[in-house]
Symmetry: C2
Subunit: 412 residues, 2 copies
Amino acid sequence: MGVSVDIDPSLVERRILDLARHGACFDTGVWRTVYSAEWVAATDQYAAWCADAGLEVRRDAVGNVWGRLAGTEPGGSIVSGSHIDSQKPGGRYDGALGSIGGLVAIEALFRRFGRPKRTLEALAFCEEEGSRFPSANFWGSRAVTRAVRQGDAETMRGYEDETMADAMRAVGLDPARIPEAGRDDIDVFVELHIEQGPVLEQAGKPVAVVDAITGMRHYHVTLTGEQNHAGAFPMDLRRDPMAGFAEIAGGVIDTAHRMGRPAVTTVGRVSADPNYPAIVPRTVRFTVDARHPDPAMRALLYARHEALMREVAARRGLDISWEILVDHAPCLSDPALVRTFEDAARRQDIPFLTMASGAGHDSQQMAEIARVVMLFVRSKDGRSHTPEEFSSLDDIVAGIRVLAAGLHDLAY
Amino acid sequence: MGVSVDIDPSLVERRILDLARHGACFDTGVWRTVYSAEWVAATDQYAAWCADAGLEVRRDAVGNVWGRLAGTEPGGSIVSGSHIDSQKPGGRYDGALGSIGGLVAIEALFRRFGRPKRTLEALAFCEEEGSRFPSANFWGSRAVTRAVRQGDAETMRGYEDETMADAMRAVGLDPARIPEAGRDDIDVFVELHIEQGPVLEQAGKPVAVVDAITGMRHYHVTLTGEQNHAGAFPMDLRRDPMAGFAEIAGGVIDTAHRMGRPAVTTVGRVSADPNYPAIVPRTVRFTVDARHPDPAMRALLYARHEALMREVAARRGLDISWEILVDHAPCLSDPALVRTFEDAARRQDIPFLTMASGAGHDSQQMAEIARVVMLFVRSKDGRSHTPEEFSSLDDIVAGIRVLAAGLHDLAY
């Protein structure tokens, strides 16, 4: 127990750049949606690396790629990885870094310490971003936890109106076999990921151990009033959904701000109908994304948002309705795992924070069937989901060293 | 002087329904943008009616249709009409009613009183709504007042990116000849129009004499902050243009409301970039339409809006810029003409209000070369720019009777 692990920076850098070639765009960007040609090439590359490292390679029924290093003793697997798909465009690090990191860590442990007692597995999930199928909703990890329901692949549609089932068939996967991706033998899932926010950069630390993933909900709201001429209709007689939207958007953003970190609320999407300068619109549609990792505070945040929306609509004589299309409970990391990885950082003199994740991750799905923990690597300017996302090689190597040392503690 | 004029309701109704067939949509709607096939058919119909009424028909260089009844004595023309194009979709009355009304009134006067002393002209302007070319900005009446500059038609672009010049050529008009549409011999322009607001309905009157057209301005605003992940970026570090937009939209609407009638401000158009639920947008673009008929109050309204926009952007660390794409000074009706048409209503026992127009109209362009006045007809629920706009036949006939009696006073 208690080893320090060296990681070869040049290997890590080469793998990041090689994987980023599949779907490369805008100099430093990646455009690699699930089941696209770029995605096929990237998973082939990942499988080849796993095989080169001496791991048993398996592609499951949804196209997740697993690299297995069998342990000498019984017990559930200890798995590390992340997703291999990207935003449109995303960068080189979101998802890819955790897939590479899990493999590099296990490869380093295998070379230096030989076969582990407990089985270790590196993993590249097929899909997490929802960038091709907006309702895929952690497709890769949900297949592993058996959360994909029969028929989902036939009804789920992409931005181009294709079905998930057709997209699977196009890359040689049979949607009828999705249940075969289910696993019951995983003990631990550890996901390395870029932070995607500015907290580590502000704190001056390269790495974080993540003790919770925030709970999040997406409200898709429709606010309807009365369409009128912008000049001829007195202000006092209007039922203007844009005025109601302004009050609601400002209000929910202010509510999260006043609640303080780590509460966050975002109004990211808005459309008016009609959408002309000289017409008071009939309808304004918008989204409210609200997140908090603490179950009680989360409930309070949502209740305040809903009360505000109802009150503004009622007071302004507007009709309001909403659908909740995404709703994830907070996911707490396993406390023992948090301590394991905190120790792994501390003994290697790697400065770290312990913090919650404000973004959703595959780990919260995996928590249904395994103990989970995450590691974050500092993001430059807190950027992600853009070609400009960047983490330094030093920080990345620090993160993989924490990952590898913690995996050693668990598996050897 | 001082006649009362009868108008045949069935003729008026038939003409409204017949003209509405060109571009008919959504049961009671009209979709008739300038220089479209529907527009060509409507102008052909209008020209045929003018000819049937014994008027000399002329189509000018931009496609305005004139029906002339030459007077027996010299003097500038007395013209009545409105525009023949529509919103997308609009209704059967906005613009069409004034084109028909001018013709029906002159036709009735010709039949009953014979040739006038002063020349009377019925008119259908080609374009007023900006529904195909957002910067056309009273294309028809500006051609008549020589306010269209050389080259405008080549640079002006429509929503489909076509140029105005190409659109003109497609219906057989030569953009080089636009100056020939200019007129220097118009003494009076009278425009009958639906109110497009609820003021007459609230007051229980069928007709208004309009003593001013409001001043209006369109700001096209771009508010730019920093694009971030909706979960991972703390509220206190965001530079969120949606939060700034919410504050500005709510603020400008409230400013006009507090200033009181007839101040109006509308935020009718908004778009976010990117426009995804889980991304804090980089940029929000929106319009502010602000109007007041009093020159001093108008200046105050604009100054308050601009101060608010600058203050919100500066306080939130956002970049703001705007273009003013529409800017019309208030337009006062000729006081003698206001009295003429008030008298015409009074002596026919037609209840009326004298009020300002909150909407812009061709009359404000025509005021550059002629004395102008407008008449309003009550709108059901104050609706316009929608298939549901409606004015009753009784109210319409009342409006045309006021128009015809006033034209008689001026021309016979």
